[in-house]
Amino acid sequence: MDTHLPAYSPKAVKRAWLALAGALGLLAIGTTNGLFVAPPEHYMGDVYRILYIHVPTAWNAMLALTFAFFSALAFLWKNDWAWDARLEAFVETGVLLSLLLCVQGSIWAKPTWGVWWDWDPRLTTTAVMLVAFVGILALRHFVDDPRRRAVWSAVATIVAYASVPIVYFSVQWWNSLHQLQSSPKTVDAVMVTPLRINAFGMLLLLLAFSSLRSQLARRRLARELAPPPAAASLALGGEG
């Protein structure tokens, strides 16, 4: 019936802590570079420097939700509990990064456009996905049976993720006054280097957090899925 019981792996935890250290190192280098080495931007001055953290957050938030989507598919396909642990980890880190992204977007929007919220398609899509995936975390919280929790949250994740492109396009059409997507090519090399360093730093951070979180989920699953205790001495004899 159920194929694999998830095992807690101390090795993976050790790797995760190493990745976390690497992530903090990279983020420190990238951010120092972004704040002090890169020149101020022509139009936005120093305000633009939030992009050094904002853009890597955006990429990795989307990446986390993409990983969650593939974990959901893999769980339904393989019936392997390890994918349920990963799904839980990626949904949580994805929600965390999306929340950070919305906060950073507001911080950027205020000095740039004078408002806290701009209906930019990327930011709005992130906000919609944030509430969608918070709903999935709530679903996981309300279901006690591990099998149902895993299957239902996988289903909800697949449907939510499949609607990302239509959310994005609908918001884009709805509000067609927005700036063009900035790609690293249009920006100076001195400005790009810290962005790249931070992007990898954030990726390592995402992988470290997700790995730690999924090990935690494995521990809980191992407890929930433990086999029944050995029989007490109830037997009455008989033919067996």
Partner: protein, 234 residues
């Protein structure tokens, strides 16, 4: 006999609700055409076992085969505590819904004999919400008869039925057996069923504590009750 030649073959069958195990490591073999009675107190796992056999629950551990196949849905008819009925539809309409899903004739004339067989001929056009518990049970039995599956699972067949109806249930079990159905019953009525079944299984806290011939069930049940009294006293 190989495991695939049994109508029902289960090994180490376990089912968990939250943290507690409703059924833990039950082994079970029933040959085709035989009748098995599953006895035990409330909460001993009888209903869970029947729902697992019917396919409405998924085992958390263990192996379960119906005629050598892990596929369960559609192969056993279950009469359970929940009657599987739509409250706002009439008795006849409920049977029509079932008949349509089974691609069977669903006209009034096709289904009225069945309503008559379970003693609901006069109430077929009343909505189920106006039925008494006993009438719901009878309609639920009609539903299972309509399904005409090779295995029939009856959870507390005498429950909600008034005592004059007991003989009718006895006769029904006899008819099912005469048709060659494999019958599994969950019941407290150990004395009554000892004569109607071949085999018996006694459950206690989700575990099989005794199995043997149905004729010996009342004695085994009494022994279990005796042990329980001793434990309570000691």
């Amino acid at each position: 006999m190989s495991e695939n030649s049994f109508a029902i073959y289960a090994r180490g069958l376990s089912k968990r609700y939250g943290r507690s195990w409703a059924l833990a490591g039950v082994d079970l073999c029933v040959e085709a055409g035989r009748a098995l009675v599953v006895a035990g107190r409330n909460g001993s796992g009888k209903s869970t076992l029947l729902r697992l056999l019917a396919g409405s629950l998924r085992p958390d551990q263990g192996e379960l085969r119906i005629f050598g196949d892990e596929r369960r849905k559609g192969r056993a008819a279950l009469v359970a505590h929940a009657a599987f009925l739509y409250e706002t539809l009439t008795g006849l309409e409920n049977l029509q819904v079932v008949a349509r899903f089974l691609h069977k004739p669903s006209g009034r004339a096709d289904l009225e004999p069945l309503l008559d067989r379970v003693g609901l001929a006069k109430r077929g056009d009343d909505p189920v919400q106006s039925y008494s518990a006993g009438m719901r049970k009878r309609l639920s039995i009609a539903r299972a008869l309509l399904q005409d599956a090779p295995i029939v699972l009856l959870d507390e067949p005498y429950g909600q039925i008034d005592p004059p109806g007991f003989a009718w249930i006895d006769a029904l079990i006899g008819q099912l057996r005469a048709q060659g159905k494999t019958v599994v019953l969950a019941s407290h009525q150990v004395e009554r069923l000892a004569g109607l079944c071949d085999r018996a299984l006694l459950l206690e806290s989700g575990r099989a504590v005794w199995s043997g011939s149905a004729a010996e069930l009342p004695a085994a049940f009494a022994r279990l009750e005796g042990q329980r009294r001793e434990r309570m006293a000691g």
